[in-house]
Subunit: 280 residues, 2 copies
């Protein structure tokens, strides 16, 4: 038995637990009235929810975290992950009714955390730093947080190197988008790339092959050979990518059944990334 | 110009429009307090929402429909689809505030319809009637209506012949599941197949190859050659398929990035069906 490791564990300083019994405690002001704060924004901060997301952040050191709020009931279940966090991150612990009173609704997951959004690189800088074989997701006008979260989840699952967003995309650090992404929108490198022309220019300038997904695409996804630097471009559900983007790029389609040519954009991204990552 | 066709169109009887001005009108009782009715169930009926779903039903003749409720503002936009419905299906028309008062919330889509759920065949009968090359989706314990709707949408998009549900699956005709499926759960043949053993027995008895999707699967999806009668089996998010099912079937995995092996089950179904339908 390695008693040294055992000793080292025992020697770790205790978790910086802070009991909270008053919903108006100023130390947990960032957690108050969560839904109203979703609407006004968190000015450079994000809110993460639930065990899976907190474990993901903790497994990467948790350097972005500002504080944690957990229910007393959830604390034992998540303690091993909390032990991985830097000791300067306070862990507020409240009884479930107090926690519900703070956030403004019943928070059955019992685990919340506030973090600092990482500064974003300009798209040109982000793309220039990627390897010679790289896979990038580029999004235009994705306005739905479920779809945004789903796309980031797929980007992480298939090892995409970055996600670029045009100016019309919604915020991937919105609370619901983070939750749906199971934390992926906190870890996949991201850049805002202005309008369609700016975005295509940045991607082409970095030597990426641009593939525009569209039901009217001229090439079949399965005929695309993965490799090199590739960027897969997705437009909003319904209208899809603008005609001028389709006209200026290779267009790729996914064959579907006659009479029902309708796929969710997040699902589409999963199918495309699975293929371009070499999986099928 | 084909004046005959033009005449025929003119000769169509007018739409059976019924103005409604009182939210308590007994003729629209089925539309009252929609959310409460979601909870208690609709006893063999379903509620469809929105233009896309109504157009899908109308394009197939609308024989399952019992009645329609549209806002005055939505009527012009949907009239051509309503014209495809049998004339015995009443079309209730209400001002937006009256419609909101009937359903109990602001129904911004402005289009609702009630239909009769189609009688389901036993799984053995459904499977026996499928062609020699057929693709079936089998679900165990899918409890989330978003995932259920997403899986049905993918089943329709990739031409799956049927969806089998075990006894632990939620109802694909729940209002939200229909909406997320963009109507697919109303058109893809479906059967309830009891517990896991019943389901596997029915699928094997019909000569289908069973493929269980799991992150621990021993074969890669891209190595599976599509063809013949194939059934793709999916379990609930989190726990996935039960060990005894994995032990009794071919297990298939989708390669993912190290440290983030997490895909949504609906997205997984899209990737699998795209491959098994011959798309990649």
């Amino acid at each position: 038995m390695d008693t040294h490791a055992s000793d080292a564990r025992t020697d770790r300083p205790p978790l910086p637990l802070i009991p909270v019994s008053d919903p108006d405690d100023p130390r947990i002001a960032d957690y108050r009235d969560v839904r109203e704060r979703d609407l006004v924004g968190r000015r450079g901060q994000f809110m993460a929810e639930g065990e899976v997301v907190l474990r993901l952040l903790a497994s990467r050191g948790g350097a972005d975290l500002v504080s944690v709020l957990v229910s007393q009931a959830s604390l034992p279940r998540i303690s091993d992950a909390l032990d991985q966090l830097p000791r300067h991150v306070p862990i507020h612990v409240a009884a479930q009714p107090v926690m519900d009173g703070i956030v403004g609704f019943h928070i059955h997951r019992g685990i919340l955390a506030i973090g600092r959004a990482r500064p974003q690189l300009p798209p040109e800088t982000l793309l220039a730093g990627l390897p010679a074989r790289a896979l990038v997701v580029a999004l235009m006008g994705i306005a739905n947080h479920d779809n945004m979260g789903g796309i980031f989840r797929n980007a992480a699952a298939f090892g995409a190197h970055a996600v670029l967003l045009d100016e019309a995309c919604c915020d991937p650090l919105y609370r619901k988008a983070i939750r749906v992404s199971v934390g992926a929108s906190l870890i996949v490198p991201t850049a805002r790339a202005g309008n369609a022309r700016d975005m295509l220019g940045a991607i082409r300038g970095a030597g990426f092959e641009l593939l525009s997904l569209s039901p009217s695409g001229t090439e079949r996804l399965s005929d695309i050979a993965p490799g090199g630097r590739m960027a897969a471009l997705f437009g909003t559900e319904g209208p899809g990518l603008p005609p001028e983007v389709l006209a200026a790029t290779r267009t790729v389609s996914i064959p579907m059944a006659p009479g029902f040519d309708s796929l969710n954009v997040a699902t589409t991204s999963g199918i495309v990334l699975h293929h371009l990552a070499g999986g099928g």
